[in-house]
Symmetry: C2
Subunit: 375 residues, 2 copies
């Protein structure tokens, strides 16, 4: 019954066309000391000549145009977004007073669209991913947009895993849905960061996809999903994109818990017997990389013969499988392996590669010691 009511709010069509929504609110504590509070990784040219944000926007724009691009970011980064994306109308930077994770982020974009367009397709992507073939991505997004329009589903972009990656989340899929150029599957459940053994089974079993955190849905469908799974968030943001927005937004955001789309919406839906809206995973095959931590750099930069991924002037003697970022500086490695070495802005990180996910603990330690100047 509840499902039917939630579904009932959804309009038949998305009259507002298709919007790209880039979520650029991250703190990137795992990229310390390069990523800082003032300049998180999405604003940095980690992967190439342009920042991750600029690359993300350039991948979407041929499909959605600058006039239909939204970037959701935190107040302290709004200026950086406008500076880095000068072609985007500045009012399309949706400013969150503080970061409250992706559920709030996507919800705010949905409210903005609801207030201005009634409804539209939303292509929701993080700002910090790397995709090598943008054309493939756009074709997958177009498939997703058609599917989202036609079925009123939450469409998840899943990538067929090519290696037993333990740092990603996985989507377990069920039966294949009929039709469509890109294979689409029902979503069964979600698995966060598996062990290597489990990840190997996932790769071999062909029933699991990497969860890219890229989604396609109609604003109205997502709002219905919020109504069902996070009604407080839905209520708090209702109508917040009207003219009195800034002050109300500050008040509202202070009261929000930081919850991701996955935890707040997708995982609860996956546990329901009759999820409405439904979730569909597109299974695509392209070079996609969640630049989640320094450990991702070898995939991004490539390696020398000893497995070292390097952005520095390097002298390496018996050093293997290290990640080194210290542009302009000489770095000598001697007899070490599986290390991450980053020197940036007066702070040096030396970290076991297996602990890349824990770099945020360093930033927490800095806060505790009141060494915030290094954050």
């Amino acid at each position: 019954m509840r499902g039917r009511r939630a579904g009932g709010e959804v309009q038949r069509r998305a009259p507002g066309g298709t919007y790209g929504v880039i979520m650029a609110g991250g703190e990137s504590t795992r990229f310390w000391p390069l990523g800082r509070r003032r300049v998180p990784k999405q604003f940095l040219a980690i992967a190439g000549r342009h920042s991750l944000l600029q690359d993300t926007a350039r991948r979407l724009v041929p499909y959605v145009t600058w006039r239909r691009l939204l970037v959701v970011t935190r107040a302290d980064h709004a200026a950086a977004v406008r500076r880095q994306l000068p072609h985007m109308p500045p009012e399309q930077v949706l400013v969150e007073p503080v970061g409250r994770n992706t559920a709030a982020c996507a919800a705010l974009a949905a409210e903005w669209i609801a207030a201005r367009r009634g409804d539209a397709i939303m292509i929701v992507v993080p700002a910090d991913h790397v995709v090598k073939n943008a054309g493939q991505l756009r074709r997958a997004l177009a498939s997703g947009a058609r599917l989202a329009e036609r079925t009123a589903s939450l469409v998840l972009l899943g990538v067929r895993p090519t290696r037993p990656e333990t740092g990603y989340g996985y989507i377990e899929v069920g039966k294949r849905l009929p039709g469509g150029a890109t294979p689409a599957f029902a979503v069964r459940r979600f698995h966060e960061k598996p062990s290597t053994a489990v990840a190997r089974r996932y790769v071999a079993g062909h029933r699991h996809l990497w969860n890219t955190g890229m989604f396609v849905w109609r604003a109205s469908v997502f709002r219905a999903a919020l109504q069902r799974c996070m009604p407080e968030l839905r209520a708090a943001l209702d109508g917040v994109c009207a003219s009195d927005a800034p002050r109300r937004l500050r008040r509202v955001y202070r009261g929000l818990s930081p919850i991701s789309v996955d935890v707040g919406v997708l995982q609860p839906l996956s546990r329901m017997r009759r999820p409405v809206p439904q979730m569909v995973a597109l299974a695509v095959s392209f070079d996609w990389l969640d630049v989640g931590s320094w450990a991702a750099m070898p995939d991004l930069w490539g390696c020398d013969g000893a497995g070292n991924a390097v952005r520095a002037k390097l002298v390496s003697l018996d050093a293997r499988d290290c990640v080194v970022y210290a542009p302009q500086q000489l770095v000598a490695l001697l007899g070490v392996k599986d290390l991450i070495v980053v020197n940036s802005g007066g702070a040096l990180l030396v970290c076991a590669r297996s602990r890349a996910q824990d770099v945020r603990a360093v930033t927490q330690a800095l806060k505790r010691r009141s060494w915030s100047g290094y954050l």
Copy 2:
């Protein structure tokens, strides 16, 4: 016969008193990137407020006075020596055109003394050692001076080992000589850097001393030893401290091989059936440290609870037994152990602690790549 002839050159007394001779010609390639070609470690305040050279001079001066202190160094470091030791008469910096290791260094000082004083006691010490109790050292040196005067021996300062140190050389001693406040022993042979197992036996057996590289002898006795063991060096330097010194010195030094006192004189003597002059080892017990590589720093600086020896602003998470030198900089260690991390002058070293002796290989690699700016 040869022994008697060599011994016959030795005068009965050393009329010139006692000279301190500091050997400060080292390149300190094992302290890269802190120690550089232009500023080797002896000029750096690694241990405390003063440089190792200044500390070395201050330990000797209450005993020998500034007017009886000689510092032997390379031409490119003479100015630094004079600047760091302003109380020492500048002409007492004996300048080697190029570094040729300690045999040439001590021989040059012996020639200088022979030319000006005829004979004198020489206390020969490296510039890069740390001694915690200077009073104890001076008492040992005074014992050595009396012994050297009385017996016309080469007196070696040996320290009773307190741990199975594998980075030091050891003196194996024979029978104890009669008399003297400080126990003195005949020298049997020398052992370089033993394995841990062997070093343990040395510590347990009480027949081995750390070879400190500090020596006491009469200039005439040492010249006689050179005559016997390194006659070419002795001949090449004969009279070199006369007035035409600089030009001749350059020519002479170009032809010299870099050989240490130990290899060139002491070890050959120890293999002779009738060594003349004889060698005597004083067995002293004091806190002495050969600051030979970064691995020595824990003894010098002390450690935190996790065994980290640190000169930096440190955030340490699950990090053990590391040596960190990066003054003024923030360093974060995460999940690493047994590393040496040094950031200095635009160059960063990350090195396995067990490879501290191989840091010079980095400097050799820099030479090969023509990155000499970092040397």
